[in-house]
Amino acid sequence: MRTIEDLIKEHRFFKDLSSEHIETIAGCGKNMVFKSGEYLAREGNPADQFYVIRQGKVAIDIVTVEKGTVIVQTVQDGEIVGWSWIIEPYYWRFDVRAVETTHAVALDGKCLRGKCEKDHDLGYALLKRFSGVLARRLEVARLQFLDVYGVQQGQAAVQKTKGKRHGTK
């Protein structure tokens, strides 16, 4: 059976880390399985872990009054979810929910934070990787914000006035 250390070593997110650091990280990890609908994290809770998704798919959710639960992004096999553990004040900003049965390695952020404080090389290596995750999330969010496939504002205005004209007839 493959150990958590093997899984971490093979994962592209941890590529080029020293074997010593991989051993340290693996020491903070455990395998978990989430059934569809189960939560990996809840908004506002202390962010004491992050997840390497081995198999399955999770949704990053925001609950709204107007639109109900909105999925911000989905994350699946081979990707990482959770950056709140490394950035103060270490609380989850979003819900993370399994969309299907999901196998993940949960890594203990609290434990890793302590190790990063002691070993800044490890801290730098992880921060560098997590800033990459953050940058990707930001890029995706900005593009989503543009609503590129939506009806353009000008167009909507045209349709609106047209609708009004029909209404008065």
């Binding site: 798919k57 639960t69 999925i71 699946q76 593009l143 543009l146 609503d147 590129v148 496939y149």
Partner: protein, 279 residues
């Protein structure tokens, strides 16, 4: 394109076979050439000018099967006067068609390569003829992938066909939406996030990209990181058009006329232009 004896600004008459609702604002219209005309040939990526009497003319990409010569198919988002009238047409009604016009996707030149098709929103329509062609000649291509991003699950075009193609297991299909509610089991995130999920050999892959310009730009950046060259990527551009044949001047894009030099361009030819504001 051969020089024609009739004036290229005068349309041929086609009759509506049927209008199919795709999504809330998008429909597919199937047309049959009127008596006396034998079939209709086009290359994937080309467009026609569709004319509705009393309303006007619009450029629309052909979205149908190139092997189906008796039926001309377009998928249209109804956003203006002409497109709204097109949506209301009934079977048997006549409309004007000019074309096909413009450049095509390099379907033949991509034989023997990995073909990656990336579509955003209605951008799937001009790429569907490519899918029909490569799937019909499946053995002539290596890996084929379709990455399709749209706004919401309700905006997904050609649902049935996507399911059918997916079940054939000879094409890798990934669909994502920008926004979804809790019941959605698929992907959420912009189409660029799908690129990391497909396998291709960057030394011999070709990417055919169609969607809003900003979506195409970010898709290209992602492919460059994966090792694709500018010469291996193709984009389809869009501008105002009144004639389709280089006379009206409206669709100028730097040195190009999108109607006759495009709409499909190899990316290296338009790379500089895509970065210029208001060009």
């Amino acid at each position: 394109m051969a020089r024609s004896k009739t004036d290229p600004m005068t349309p041929a008459i086609f009759h509506v076979k049927r209008v199919i609702r795709e999504t809330e604002d998008t429909f597919t219209i199937e047309l049959i050439p009127s008596n006396g005309t034998t079939g209709f040939s086009f290359k994937p990526g080309q467009f026609t000018m569709l004319y509705v009497l009393g309303a006007g003319e619009v450029p629309i990409s052909i979205s149908g099967d190139p092997f189906e010569k008796r039926c001309l198919t377009h998928t249209i988002r109804s956003v203006g006067n002409v497109t709204r009238l097109l949506q209301k047409l009934k079977a048997g009604e006549g409309i004007g068609v000019r074309g096909p016009f413009g450049s095509a996707w390099p379907v033949k030149a991509s034989q023997g390569r990995d073909v990656i098709i990336v579509a955003g929103g209605i951008g799937l329509a001009p790429l569907r003829p490519v899918l029909y062609t490569v799937l019909k000649n499946r053995k002539k291509y290596n890996r084929i992938s379709l990455l399709y991003g749209t706004r919401t699950p309700e905006d997904i075009l050609y649902h049935q066909e996507l399911m059918k193609w997916r079940s054939q297991f000879d094409i890798d299909i990934h669909v994502t939406v920008d926004q979804a509610g809790k019941s959605w089991k698929g992907n959420v995130g912009v189409v660029t996030t799908l690129i990391s999920r497909i396998a291709f050999d960057s030394t011999q892959a070709v990417a055919l990209i169609c969607g809003p310009e900003v979506m195409m730009r970010f898709t290209i950046q992602e492919f460059r990181q994966r090792g694709l060259n500018n010469e291996d990527m193709y984009v389809s551009m869009e501008r105002n058009m009144k004639c389709g044949i280089g006379f009206c001047g409206h669709c100028q894009y730097g040195p190009y006329f999108i109607c006759k030099d495009g709409p499909v361009f190899r990316y290296d030819l338009v790379e500089d232009l895509m970065k210029v504001e208001e060009i």
